[in-house]
């Protein structure tokens, strides 16, 4: 008999229809408690990385790779949790990443705190569905409060955009460069916004290229294309072309190869010479055709079936003064063609001038120990942009990329939903205060639950203060006091170590980050609360 059957069999017989409400529910409570404790453990793991003075985590993955990061979503993703409820928290942070891109730590810490408080509610004998319903009403109310606190924003107000990007960057490793990266993120996103759909931003139109060497200071926004590749030097071809005519080709410049198996039969040595000559002529013919269209830069897609280019074809291309970049991935082709405003060419027969893209300058630039290819001054450039991230070691670059991604997401949120809200724990304290007041108007269990959860929200300012080395209790109580006096924007100024009007300090974040954090966290907590059994299945 299956495990589930044997364990619940005794209760099955003991309970008759009328006495059901007195069935021993210990196991159910145990499951719930175990779930909550596991989920809280996950939340505690990332707690210390919250806020501008939060700490980083070093993750050594099974493959020996080391990651240093402050990004909640990344930490949780790499943690490989097994407990099902803990897994749900990892998913939670991932959805926050997808929905808002930032606040991935906040959402988990918030969920952890809500769980801690719901545990005390459950132990007081309140039915989980009551707790869960109260939580739902609370989240609606909280979002309402956030909306009322929000400040509308105009996309032309570049300063505010930069400020909120800076807030997001301030909690990362690269915070000292926030003055450089924040405007860059804003410019990158604004340049890909299509005027026809002003509220849609596809972050795939922003390409981030990482290159080792230099410092994060050298990171730049490139109006054009950057390849983390060398120009093919095999035969001394050009490395700098002005007034470039660029072709993106998906065919190979190498000896022909058929799909059917083929072999060339050589019967005597004169034929050998002929074959070599033929090969040369064949390739020369192709190169000539390419040259005839006036093309002088060639981007060649990688091919797995055969060599995309051979030494011989490189040689001819170099002679023809054509700059070659080889091994372009297939999935990059769309981005490239969109940027260059050209069409990919899949066959030499279709090589026509109208499929080419134009740019003022294509050049190979050496950076650090490597080289990159830059294409600038593109004619009729598509709505894409490239950010070249530099850093002194791989770990810094990776973290810079993640931070930049978060900042990009923040700007995207603002484009989608044009409202700003204060940072520094101010919205959470305000929510907690208003919800606490609301709880007094409610009746019954719900009031009790709302009051408890209102307190749970204080975990954010509490943790912020704690991570910044301030006295959390003093800070939180003072915050409460200030908010009670009507200063709804009072928040923790971590840099000064005191409470100030956080809007004046330019610590702002998009409304979407806060609202999605609260809705997602409550949704996840409710789901965990409603679970009363874990069943092992195939």
């Amino acid at each position: 008999m299956a495990a589930a059957v044997t364990t619940s069999a005794p209760t099955a017989r003991a309970s008759s229809f009328n006495t059901e409400s007195y069935v021993d529910n210990k196991r159910r409570d145990d499951v719930r408690q175990a779930n909550i404790i596991a989920a809280r453990a996950v939340a505690d793991a990332v707690r210390t990385s919250l806020g501008p003075k939060g700490m980083d985590k070093m993750i050594a993955s099974a493959s020996g790779e080391v990651i240093i990061t402050n990004d909640g979503a990344t930490i949780l993703n790499k943690m490989e949790v097994l407990q099902p409820a803990a897994k749900m928290l990892v998913d939670l942070s991932r959805s926050q990443d997808a929905a808002a891109g930032d606040g991935t730590t906040t959402v988990v810490v918030l969920a952890g705190s809500l769980l801690r408080h719901s545990l005390s509610l459950l132990s007081a004998g309140i039915h989980p569905t009551v707790v869960s319903d109260a939580l739902h009403r609370l989240s609606l109310r909280a979002v309402d409060i956030l909306h009322r606190m929000a400040v509308p924003l105009d996309l032309s107000d570049r300063d505010s955009l930069v400020k909120s990007a800076a807030t997001s960057l301030n909690s990362k490793v690269v915070s000292q460069y926030s003055s450089l990266l924040a405007p860059m993120a804003v410019d990158a996103v604004l340049s890909v916004v299509d005027p026809a759909h002003p509220d849609l931003v596809d972050l795939r139109d922003v390409k981030i290229v990482k290159k080792l060497g230099g410092t994060v200071d050298d990171t730049e926004l490139v109006k054009g294309l950057v390849f983390d590749k060398k120009v093919s030097h095999a035969a001394g071809g050009p490395t700098r072309v002005e007034n470039a005519k660029i072709a993106v080709i998906q065919f190979q410049i190498s000896p022909p190869k058929t799909d059917i198996e083929q072999s060339i039969v050589v019967s005597d040595y004169t034929q050998m010479d002929r074959i070599l000559r033929e090969e040369r002529n064949y390739i020369l013919g192709m190169v000539k055709k390419i040259k005839a269209t006036g093309c002088n830069v060639l981007l060649i897609q990688k091919s797995i079936l055969r060599d995309a280019v051979t030494d011989l074809s490189l040689h001819y291309l170099a002679k023809a003064k054509i700059l070659v970049v080889k091994d372009v991935e297939r999935d990059e082709i769309e981005f490239i063609t969109k940027t260059l405003n050209c069409l990919p060419i899949a066959n030499i027969e279709h090589f026509r001038e109208d499929k080419l893209g134009f740019a003022d300058l294509v050049e190979e630039v050496s950076v650090g120990d490597g080289k990159i290819v830059k294409i600038t001054g593109i004619k009729d450039m598509g709505r894409t942009t490239t950010v070249l991230v530099r850093g002194s070691n791989q770990l810094v670059i990776d973290e810079a990329e993640r931070s930049l991604h978060d900042a990009l997401c923040v700007v995207r949120c603002l484009v989608n939903k044009r409202f700003l809200i204060a940072g520094g724990g101010a919205p959470e304290i305000e929510m907690s205060r208003q919800l606490g007041a609301w709880a007094k108007e409610l009746q019954g269990m719900e009031s009790y639950c709302v009051k408890e959860f209102a307190e749970a929200l204080e975990v954010i300012p509490y943790t912020l203060a704690e991570n910044a080395g301030l006295n959390p209790i003093a800070i939180v109580t003072e915050l409460r006091n200030r908010h009670a006096q009507g200063e709804i924007n009072a928040g923790i100024n971590v840099r000064k170590g005191q409470i100030t009007d956080i809007l004046e300090e330019n610590v702002v974040q998009p409304l979407l980050v806060s609202t999605s954090a609260i809705t997602l966290a409550t949704e996840c907590v409710r789901m965990i609360l409603k679970i009363d059994d874990i069943i092992m299945v195939r």
Binding site: F17, Q262, V265, C524, I531
Partner: protein, 527 residues
């Protein structure tokens, strides 16, 4: 024992009371596993897979839970099967049917212990089930003639079904989605035309119904992103290379130029194929297999939108909704049925780009896009919505409606009780037991909601003693309420199926007096 062994080694045999006991315990244990998920305040279960990936599912759906259980008890398997059948037939009530069967067996166990013959119990159960069904038939309301009322009935049914699921908070929104989708079907129960797409991100409230069809694929590079009055050819053909499919086919040549010629010929062949496809007069080509760069470019040159690598499900559905046929040869353009739609365009949901076909041939088709915080939420939402859609499509055909919230059970219990009083003989005990089992359903709903079930049920029983009452359990306020005013309805078909299959299953298990477990087939040692 003097008798020779009848059975093989390892085969076991259980007889009489022991066998019956095993079936009762197994069936009741299964019922107890899913019991807590019943009703609007039922709990969820985590299903943790022991297989690879240790994937986690959070669900409230009885059929899903039971389907994935490891079960060794034959009686328990019967219950799992009826829940599966219920899922296939009517889509909802999968938990109720198991719980009712479990309760019937629990009652039967007591009777058996009181030395009543199982066959007497079965006879009693049959009479009671017949009587209960007649009550349902009498009390069912049919509003088919009045479209407005019928729609509101559908809304109520959808909301009642959804209220026990994860979607309960936004049940109005989803009930509307489901009703709209089902009404578009115009009476057909082919749920294939309703496509459900799950996209993580956003909240459940952001889910929407879209008329038309959405394909989760990308448009080829350099091709038009928007086509009006599209003529669509749906195909399943290799667009990489047309190889001679003879093993070991190879060509021998004596010069490089020849190789180039053959390569050229292959290209030419592809080009011809593309030309043939284009000759169908289409402007959209959807292929199940990959489209390589070369044909992709040809299509782009011809201004045709080509979609590669659409999955099986995708192309079949697309062919269905656009009214086309899946083609794999292109020699006879006149015999190929093309699909049509008004507009194809690229849309963006969340972070992903999808292809949207609107104004499709088959007007019934529509797509429901679900948004939610995580994959767990989305999966569960899909299951819930599927339940609602099933029930609704059944109700559109059989429009009889009952009230919910334990109302039909109490009604049946009352009539069955009456019957017990009139019936002479031992059967009366069984009939009474049936009535008690029916009352267990509202009891469990109340228990799950954390209410005082004993108090509520007795109140409910008193209410039902009056004629024409609409009283049922109002879980939200925690008391007895008027189900009609609260708008809690259930489909007649579902209730009837629950009643009949639960009775049948209970009967089947009751009849068992011997369990023979066959010796497991020996696996050959394959080294």
């Amino acid at each position: 024992m003097a008798v020779e062994r009848l059975l093989k080694d390892e085969a076991t045999e259980e007889k009489g009371d022991r066998a019956r006991m095993a079936s009762f315990v197994g069936a009741m244990a299964i019922a107890d596993v899913v019991k807590t998920t019943l009703g609007p305040k039922g709990m969820d279960k985590i299903l943790q897979s022991t297989g690879r990936g240790r994937s986690v599912t959070v669900t409230n759906d009885g059929a899903t839970i039971l389907k994935s259980l490891h079960i060794d008890n034959p009686a328990a398997k019967v219950l799992v099967d009826i829940s599966k059948v219920q899922d296939d037939e009517v889509g909802d009530g999968t938990t109720s049917v198991v719980v009712l069967a479990g309760e019937l067996l629990r009652e039967a166990e007591k009777l058996v212990n009181a030395k009543i013959h199982p066959m007497t119990i079965i006879a009693g159960y049959r009479m009671a089930a017949e009587c209960a069904r007649n009550v349902l038939l009498q009390k069912a309301m049919d509003n088919k003639q009045d479209p407005e009322k019928f729609t509101s009935d559908l809304m109520n049914i959808a909301m009642t079904t959804l209220s026990s699921k994860i979607l309960s908070q936004d049940k109005e929104h989803f009930a509307k989605l489901a009703v709209d989708a089902v009404l578009r079907l115009k009476g057909s129960t082919n749920l294939d035309a309703i496509q459900i797409i799950k996209k993580a991100g956003g909240s459940l409230k952001d889910s929407f119904l879209d008329e038309g069809f959405i394909l989760d694929k990308k448009i080829g590079i350099g091709q038009p992103k928007c086509i009006e009055n599209a003529k669509i050819l749906v195909a399943n053909t290799a667009m990489d290379t047309d190889k001679v499919k003879i093993y070991g086919a190879r060509v021998r040549v004596d010069s490089m130029a020849r190789v180039a010629e053959i390569e050229g010929a292959e290209k030419e062949k592809m080009r011809e194929k593309v030309q043939k496809i284009i000759a169908h007069g289409i402007n959209c080509f959807v292929n199940r297999q990959l489209i390589y760069n070369f044909p992709e470019e040809l299509f782009a040159d011809a201004g045709i939108l080509a979609i590669e690598h659409a999955d099986f499900d995708g192309i079949e559905r697309l062919a269905l909704v656009t009214g086309g046929e899946i083609a794999s040869t292109f020699d006879n353009p006149e015999s190929v049925k093309l699909g049509h739609c008004k507009l194809i365009e690229e849309i963006m949901i969340g972070e992903d780009k999808l292809i949207h076909f609107s104004g499709v041939e088959m007007g019934q088709a529509c797509t429901i896009v679900l948004r939610g915080a995580s994959s767990h939420v989305l999966d569960e939402a899909e299951r819930s919505l599927h339940d609602a859609l099933c029930v609704l499509s059944q109700t559109v055909n059989d429009s009889r409606v009952l009230l919910g919230g334990g109302w039909p059970e109490m009604l049946m219990a009352k009539e069955v009780d009456e019957l017990a009083r009139k019936t002479p003989g031992k059967k009366a005990h069984a009939i009474e037991a049936f009535s008690r089992a029916l009352q267990a359903i509202p009891t469990i709903i109340a228990d799950n909601a954390g209410l005082d079930s004993a108090e509520l049920i007795s109140q409910l029983r008193a209410e039902h003693h009056k004629e024409r009452t609409n009283a049922g359990i109002d879980v939200i306020s925690g008391g007895v309420g008027d189900m009609e005013k609260l708008g809690i309805s259930e489909s007649f078909k579902v209730k009837q199926a629950v009643l009949l299959s639960a009775t049948e299953a209970a009967e089947m298990i009751l009849r068992v007096d011997e369990i023979i477990t066959c010796a497991p087939r020996k696996r050959e040692d394959r080294m």
